[in-house]
């Protein structure tokens, strides 16, 4: 392991990864990798998570292709130094900010979107000119093996390496010195990563999770809008990896009197999308492993929680399947309402007034996303200014992930740092300030010995009071 990292460092030192042509060639190779291995990728995702090809394309392959293409088209622009304004006082001078690669970066990815969460950060790291060690999650073993075997066939082995392994490998990697660590995963492990990074003063980006709520206020508008709302909620909960996604809808907030309407709409939509019952379940992923399965089943063990199930609840331990399950008002202090669910269980919490959603959300730690289905502009403004989350999406779910111009990241317990689009490039770059000065003219008052005149000059200079300075120099100002 140490040898691999030493090689990454050597490669970076040679400066080869800084050239735009190297970066572009690597990105193009990555695109080729994805294009030429789509079927293998679908197979691996099906094996690890039961993801079908359409979901796999929508959430992994398609996202990555889009990311690489966008990055390739913008790279030259991003790499160019940006001019910065210089006050007249410093004339003649030129100031700019030049992005520079950080060096050797470590990327930890998660098991639920094993390709997207590994390769999207990789795209950012390469585009910024770094050398990279990628450590995919071993909880998606087929995908991890695919990456370990396939990346060396397409990318520059001296600059991009993939390491297989579990938590022990992760721990060993964290003891070494990196120039940046990018981590996607749980807050618990996020703390360990940051603590390890602190020993070397390594900057980190932590993409964590939280309980992402969906506020529903559109059921009493028109029937078609209500239907679309239901579709988007179902699509935003069970669509991405059967709820095992950091941006999946965790729970729903709705007014008491509309709860039954919502539940009926959700039931209809679930049946249409995924089948009538657990035996005929289709178009949906499965739970990743026994450990996660048991964890989710345990959330339903509490009798008061089990009592609140209004739809679903069946499980198939052998196939690691839990059918889409809706709960109505489980106890607020139950585990299902205090931990991030990360699975196909959807609690619906009823409120007297939908505006109470804001206080409810604020009583929990900052989520990664807040979804709000509402057409009330005042309510929208209140949600924006009175809650805090990584992102807010109005009247839809999940799609914000596809917007390259929006920074994707958390705040508070949902993480810090961000990526996607140019933000990926920035997160793996150091923005270096550069100031060019000429030797003339010289401003004498910069230098000691200090006199009253010089102090006055400096005061006026700081105020950019050029007229005052001229007066001073001509002898017309005393104090």
């Amino acid at each position: 392991m140490e040898k691999s990292i030493a090689e990454l460092r050597e490669t970076f030192k040679t400066g080869g990864t800084k050239s735009i042509s190297w970066r572009k060639s690597q990105l193009k190779a990555l695109l080729q990798l994805i294009n030429q291995n789509e079927d293998s990728i679908f197979k691996a995702l099906d094996q690890d998570l039961g993801k079908g090809p359409v979901e796999s394309y929508r959430d992994e392959v398609g996202v990555l292709k889009k990311s690489v293409t966008y990055t390739l088209s913008c790279l030259e622009k991003w790499v160019a130094p940006k001019k910065a304004e210089v006050p007249l006082l410093f004339f003649p001078a030129k100031a700019e900010v030049m992005p520079q690669p950080l060096g050797v970066v470590l990327i930890f990815s998660s098991w639920n979107f094993p390709f997207t969460l590994a390769l999207d950060p990789l795209i950012g790291a390469i585009s910024a000119g770094n050398t990279v060690l990628l450590k995919p999650s071993d909880l998606a073993p087929a995908c991890m093996s695919f990456l370990v075997e396939t990346i060396p066939k397409y990318l520059d082995n001296k600059a991009v390496k993939v390491l297989a392994g579990g938590a022990d490998i992760g721990e060993r990697l964290l003891r070494l010195k990196w120039d940046k660590i990018f981590f996607t995963g749980s807050p618990r492990v996020g703390r360990l990563v940051m603590a390890a990074a602190a020993k070397h003063l390594t900057p980190v980006t932590l993409e964590l999770g939280g309980k992402s709520p969906a506020i529903v206020d559109t059921l009493s508008t028109t029937p078609s809008k209500a239907k679309v709302t239901a579709k988007r909620i179902v699509g935003g909960k069970w669509g991405p990896c059967t709820g095992q996604a950091c941006i999946a809808i965790d729970y729903v907030l709705v007014e008491e009197k509309l709860a039954s309407t919502l539940i009926e709409l959700l039931k209809k939509t679930i049946k249409r999308f995924y089948g009538e019952n657990i035996k005929s379940l289709k178009n949906i992923s499965r739970i990743v492993n026994k450990h996660q399965f048991q964890r989710l089943v345990n959330l339903l063990k509490d009798p008061t929680v089990a009592d609140s199930i209004v739809y679903g609840g069946s499980v198939d331990e052998e196939k690691l399947v839990i059918e889409p399950t809706i709960l109505l008002d489980p106890p607020l202090d139950s585990e299902i309402m205090s931990e991030e669910i990360f699975g196909p269980l959807l609690p619906i919490i009823t409120l007297k007034n939908v505006e109470e959603s804001i206080d409810f959300i604020n009583s929990k730690s900052n989520p990664l996303v807040i979804y709000a289905f509402t057409e009330d502009e005042t309510f929208k403004k209140r949600i924006l200014s009175e809650t805090s989350s990584g992102t807010v999406t109005f009247n839809d779910s999940m799609v914000q992930f596809l917007c390259d111009s929006l920074p994707f990241g958390g705040v508070g317990q949902s993480g810090f740092g961000r990526y996607h689009g140019k933000y990926s490039f920035d997160t793996f770059s150091h923005e270096k300030s550069i100031l060019h000065r000429g030797f003339y003219p010289e401003i004498e008052p910069r230098y000691p010995p200090w006199t009253h005149f010089k102090l006055l000059f400096i005061k006026l200079a700081y105020q950019f009071d050029y007229f005052g300075l001229i007066l001073l120099l001509l002898g017309f100002k005393r104090s």
């Binding site: 359409v54 996202v63 602190a198 805090s388 990584g390 929006l406 740092g417 550069i434």
Partner: protein, 414 residues
């Protein structure tokens, strides 16, 4: 500097606070997007002793402009400044939102055990590791403004007088070398070294007189710990013999005169740790281009790096290959005063940046907001999934209108 910081924030704040529109593509049509700045919450600012007012209050300006509540912990090693800051902040600012906590290690440790929404720390690498480790427990993001050995490369074909004066201003003019961006050491060619040293001698005398310890324009060393530390650097065996100018000390008054060394061993203490004082080693190389290798081999990335030259190629190589927080060509330290440049380090010299709008950004969370409507619900998002939907999906994700139309036509005609 502080006055300007406040003035800029007052002038620009409305503009900084406005949401930034973000472009959306055909993939999410119809939609609109923006990025909204919101305060992070309750932030902790820990400042240093060398610029006690600037390093305490400049971050506070940023934190206030971004709408946060603040606890400020000034350095106990500048006690008069610390108590004045505490008093003035209580007198002038809203004490329910902005508090000053004075104290030393025990108080700082107690503060670090609390949960903060952001911590900005200015100081050294050792304590920075403690700050970041404490922040890790609460997943608190940090800005660390540290230091390093900021090198100055001096080429031969330059205006020597101006260059010398600017180096002196950045070194001894800045708190007698006790500044994070002070030139730490000089690299120049063997041929040019004597001329450089002579120029220094001349200008130093012009600035500080024949006996610098008598000059009122030189700061003193902050305390006896640092005085002893610097004395140790000067007295090291193979180093003390390399003094070519200065060397005078007054322990009682904590004064050390501007002291220049020529060609100390590269593995001496004075060349290994950040000097942070009035000692200036000059290292010579055969060709000025070799300076870059020397800087890279010295290990950590510094907060600043300086180059004096008229040679365009050298400037280019410097700018492209030297990794530091900030670079200045033909001057020292002044980039600090330019608000449009982010001020921060990289690697051992720190992470994050501030000044100007960067201060506002450092204490803000940039929340992404996507507005969608109900029209145009792409049925292909939802199951049941069919091959036709897959084609459409591929087209939609590509964002290409031609592909989308083709796919749609194919769908309708299938």
């Amino acid at each position: 500097m502080l006055k300007n910081s406040c003035r800029l924030a007052l002038k620009e704040m409305n503009h900084w606070m406005m949401p930034e529109k973000a472009k959306t593509s055909l993939t999410t049509f119809p939609s609109s997007a923006e990025i909204v700045s919101e305060p992070l919450g309750v932030v902790l600012v820990i400042s240093a002793w060398n610029y006690p007012f600037l390093l305490s209050l400049d971050p506070v300006v940023g934190a206030i402009s971004a709408g946060n509540a603040i606890v400020l912990k000034p350095s106990e090693m500048a006690p008069a400044s610390s108590s004045l800051i505490a008093k003035l902040v209580a007198d002038y600012l809203d004490s329910s939102c902005i508090k000053v906590v004075e104290g030393a290690v025990p108080e700082t440790s107690a503060l670090l055990e609390q949960k903060w929404d952001k911590i900005l720390y200015t100081g050294n690498g050792r304590v920075a590791r403690i700050v970041m480790a404490a922040a890790a427990k609460h997943l608190t993001p940090v800005v660390l403004e540290l230091g390093g050995k900021s090198p100055v490369i001096v080429d031969s074909d330059i205006n020597l007088k101006v260059a010398t004066r600017r180096i002196i201003a950045g070194k001894w003019g800045c708190n007698n070398g006790q500044a994070c961006i002070s030139p730490d050491y000089i690299i120049t060619t063997k041929d040019y070294a004597t001329k450089l040293v002579d120029s220094f001698k001349c200008e130093l005398e012009r600035f500080y007189g024949k006996d610098p310890l008598e000059s009122k324009d030189l700061s003193r060393i902050v305390n006896s710990n640092h005085f002893d530390r610097l004395s140790k650097l000067m007295d090291e065996e193979k180093v003390s013999s390399k003094i070519v100018h200065g060397g005078q000390r007054n322990e009682k008054n904590l004064q050390i005169a501007p002291t220049i060394f020529l060609d100390v061993p590269v593995n001496s203490l004075i060349m290994k740790e950040e000097i942070f004082g009035p000692l200036l080693p000059i290292i010579t190389v055969d060709k000025v281009e070799q300076s870059f290798d020397l800087i890279h081999s010295s290990g950590g990335k510094p907060l600043a790096a300086y180059l004096f030259t008229n040679n365009k190629k050298l400037k280019r190589k410097f700018v492209e290959t030297v990794s530091a927080g900030g670079l200045v060509v033909n001057d020292t330290a002044v980039h600090l005063a330019i608000d449009s440049l982010p001020f921060g380090g990289v690697g051992e010299s720190g992470m994050g940046s501030y000044h100007g709008k960067f201060s506002f950004d450092a204490f803000s969370h940039k929340k992404a907001v996507l507005y969608r409507g109900f029209a145009g619900d792409a049925f292909l998002r939802y199951p049941p999934y069919t091959p036709g939907k897959l084609t459409l999906l591929q087209a939609l994700l590509s964002g290409s209108i031609v592909r989308i139309i083709r796919a749609l036509l194919g769908w309708f005609w299938a």
